[in-house]
Symmetry: C2
Subunit: 202 residues, 2 copies
């Protein structure tokens, strides 16, 4: 049994990361990486399901012990991807899915280059504007700010391994599933066990 693969799904806000990851979890036998945060649980959020909720002190200690694949501070709260859990799952041969913002994705890719980084794109800025406006949670100014940020994020696309435009959800999911399956057959991921098996059979 080989090591599992780490898939990092990212992209601008409104590209459909969350929806696509939910579908991936339904279609493939894969574990979701749960983030750790210092923010308080919201109504209905469960520790170990939505997030691992920890104190600021616990988070700080973990940072100092190099216990995160990546972490970031957003306003007064910290968010991070606990390294040990991901590594243990991969060592057991389990594939791990990580849904994360573009800054976090690039940090994970730096910390773990064998990870497969997939960038999701909205079909156009116009469509992204519609999606963000449709959520009804953001002011027009905030939407324009997000669009500017999106262009910056798109300029970092070359740091990723794959890029999928999320125009039709079903099609985008099938593309991502193909990518995730294909990665398992890469010779660069190691075929020595396989080669040995044939030699020994001889």
């Amino acid at each position: 049994m080989g090591k599992g693969l780490l898939y990092v799904i990212s992209g601008p806000s409104g590209a459909g990361k969350g929806t696509i990851c939910k579908r991936i979890l339904e279609e493939l036998d894969i574990d979701l990486s749960i983030s750790m945060t210092t923010r308080k649980p919201r109504e209905g959020e469960v520790d170990g399901v939505n997030y691992y909720f920890v104190s600021r002190e616990e988070f700080q200690e973990r940072i100092e012990a190099d216990g995160f694949l990546e972490y970031a501070q957003v306003y007064e709260n910290f968010y991070g991807t606990p390294k040990q859990m991901v590594m243990e799952q991969l060592a057991k041969g389990r594939d791990v899915l990580l849904e994360i913002d573009t800054q976090g994705a690039l940090n994970v890719k730096k910390a773990y280059p064998e990870g497969v980084a997939i960038f999701l794109l909205p079909p156009s800025l116009e469509e992204l504007r519609k999606r963000l406006t449709g959520r009804g949670t953001e002011t027009p100014e905030a939407v324009e700010l997000r669009l500017s940020k999106t262009l910056n994020e798109i300029s970092c696309m070359t740091e990723y391994d794959y890029c999928v435009v999320n125009d039709d959800l079903d099609v985008a999911v099938s593309h991502v599933v193909s990518i995730m399956k294909a990665e398992h057959f890469k010779v660069s991921r190691g075929v020595h066990d396989l080669m040995k098996r044939y030699e020994e059979e001889r």
Copy 2:
């Protein structure tokens, strides 16, 4: 519209190259590369379908004009992959499928490194022995010779991009299809057109 991709499907005799390629042609919108040969057409073989049948002189001229992605002499006959036709199809944005023996595949990969080389493997040497014996066309000695050759071929597997074990045909086909689809989303194949589109929209 980007350039098409060249997929090189190879593997030892008995790995199921031909059957899998036939299925790929049914499932995907892709062109098959037709080889050129100096051997005489057999009963029922059609020029431009099974092979391009040419004279030894024509073949020789093409070799001298660097007109092959790869070619080889097998006993008294020559076989080769005409370069121009493949390149024209790729330039038109068409994907091209090339089914070829392992020596030819490595030569194509050298001549055209952007090609996607997929190595097909039988599930075991024992299973391969059964398949080769089942064909009823080879003596037991010839089968053993093929098995030895297979081990040599397997030792070159690391030169390929992907490796798929053909245990169950349907499963193997779906793996190869995933690989072929996924390759289109590789950032390394170029996302500048895509990036430009978003910038211009802004």
